[in-house]
Amino acid sequence: MIVFKYALLRSLRSPLSIVGSIVVPIAYIFLPVNTWKNTPVAGVVNLVMLMLLSAHLLSGVILEDRIDGSVIRVLTSPVSTFSYIFQNLLSVIIPLIIQIILLGISGYTRYNWSIEYTLGLSICMILFVIANTAFVFCWNMFFKSIESSKYTFWFFVAVITPLSGLVVPIEMLPSNFQHVGAILYPYWLMRSVTVLTDNGINMEFWLLQSILILFAVAFLFLGGKRRSI
């Protein structure tokens, strides 16, 4: 797992990545509690928005390798393309999963979440992280410079967060726009959280997780198409 180790070290090298991936998520645990429908979920929404951005920061390694030609040298070594991509994506997913585990532990201990709720939230957040990482991987494949990828992604996040119900609940949006965000995966995360909050883990919850998994698969296939990697 040498590629994983060095990808992780490289992605955490920048101060912004450390702040976004470690400092702020831990600080969120101690933020004052806000409730919606008598359930403390506002922190989850903020954490999701942070994860959207920090995944992009952590996954810049593949794009850097592609731009400076390192990927050609790496792929001439006995490292398969699948192994290279898998270990790089794992280096993005693992820190985010650690955040989710911390979220679960803090929620269970500090905010007295039920086991079902903690488990359900962890499952949908982990699947969201995987779908987000796959999306960011696919997104980076279309760009040839880090800056253009970064700034267009932030612009994209600024557009999708209101449509996905991350900023305001979906029910507060105009009726014509309420379900447009369905083409984006954060919408299905918020719907999962809503279903989990209202009904617990049921069939609809698992259907929504299937949708997140399908999003991840779709983005991986799209991004994994061999261009100049």
Partner: protein, 357 residues
């Protein structure tokens, strides 16, 4: 952007999926979106791995669609069935298309128009892609044959050059052994005798004269043997310039003026064969097709190239510039690195230029 059937198919796929999503916005059902996303993922997979076996995974799509329909899908699911019908017609999976058509909601009167449209679209794209693939396969086949032919030509040309070299070496050694075996002995013996004559001419002039006569007889034998050897080595048939002159002289229809200039010794046997063939073919064409009153043949050779010009005033009005004979000769000229062109003006000219390496 070059329009191919696959691009049109992908554009139509995107359009269908967009329409299904717009349709979904009316109902906002989780199962329907799951089906839609599943179909999108399967389209991406089939696009990524364009293999005949991967196309058959459309059966999985059909199974999932029917499953969703059975647990209570909306109108969007019927759209999905028509989408699958379009895909199966495009891929030529007619059994799957027949199964879809047998599902009740597909063949209802209200949706019959849409069903027949997607079937027709898929079928048209299928025919288009099949024809295109056939054309590409033919093109690849002919390219491969051309390549093999070109390789064979190169091998033959190389072999010819090698044979020529070996013939020259063999001939040289034959000439050397002829001269050595026949005339060489006599000349050397005469030389030694004449040396002796020089030494004894003052002491014994009579003996010297006798020896001188003997050496003259031997020299005479040697010269005779040399002449015989040269006569035996001479080609009985004409070659090179002589051969071309003979061809021009034997042409009976009109008088042929044959002009040569330059040093012909650098022209190889292979080139002579090609030049003779071009001259023969051109004169035959003049005899068969034109009413020429004169034919002029010019053969020029320099250190770097040889040029053959055949000109006649029998210009015939035809769009076909080269007959099949000259077309095949053009190919032979190209294999020796040359060029064969024509010029049609007041007179008709065939010009062949072959570089000498």
């Amino acid at each position: 952007m070059k329009l191919t059937p696959t691009k049109v198919f992908n554009i139509l796929n995107i359009a269908c999926i967009s329409l299904m999503f717009v349709n979904w916005l009316q109902v906002v059902d989780t199962e329907d979106f799951l089906l839609l996303l599943f179909l999108v993922v399967m389209c991406i997979v089939r696009n990524k791995w364009n293999h005949p076996y991967i196309r058959k995974t459309i059966v999985i799509d059909l199974f999932v669609t029917v499953l969703i329909l059975s647990i209570g899908g909306s109108y969007m699911v019927e759209f999905a069935l028509k989408f699958l019908l379009f895909q199966s017609m495009f891929w030529g999976l007619y059994p799957v298309a027949i199964i879809i058509c047998y599902l009740p909601m597909v063949m209802e009167f209200t949706s019959l128009l849409l069903t027949s449209s997607v079937t027709l679209m898929g079928l048209v794209l299928n025919f288009w892609i099949n024809e295109r693939n056939e054309r590409l396969k033919q093109r690849d086949y002919f390219s491969k044959k051309n390549y093999q032919l070109a390789n064979l030509q190169n091998e033959l040309t190389t072999a010819l050059a090698q044979v020529e070299q070996m013939s020259i070496i063999a001939e040289r050694s034959r000439i050397a052994s002829e001269i050595h075996d026949n005339a060489g002995h006599e000349i050397i013996a005469s030389f030694i005798t004449l040396q002796t004559v020089r030494k004894i001419i003052e002491k014994n002039p009579e003996k010297a004269l006798e020896l001188f006569d003997k050496s003259m007889i031997r020299l005479n034998h040697g010269v005779k043997k040399m002449r015989d050897a040269v006569h035996n080595m001479s080609a009985v048939a004409f070659m090179g310039v002589d051969k071309m002159r003979e061809i021009c002289q034997n042409y009976s229809k009109v008088s042929v003026t044959f002009i040569t200039s330059g040093d012909m010794t650098s022209v190889t046997t292979n080139m002579w064969h090609v030049l003779e063939a071009i001259l023969n073919e051109s004169l035959t064409n003049v005899m068969k097709h034109s009413k020429a009153t004169f034919v002029r043949v010019e053969l020029d050779a320099t250190k770097h190239l040889v040029r053959l010009l055949i000109e006649n005033d029998g210009v015939i009005d035809t769009t076909d510039s080269f007959g099949s004979g000259l077309r095949s000769l053009r190919y032979r000229v190209v294999t020796v690195g040359g060029n064969l062109t024509f010029y049609k003006g007041e007179t008709f000219r065939v010009i062949c230029v072959i570089p000498i390496h």
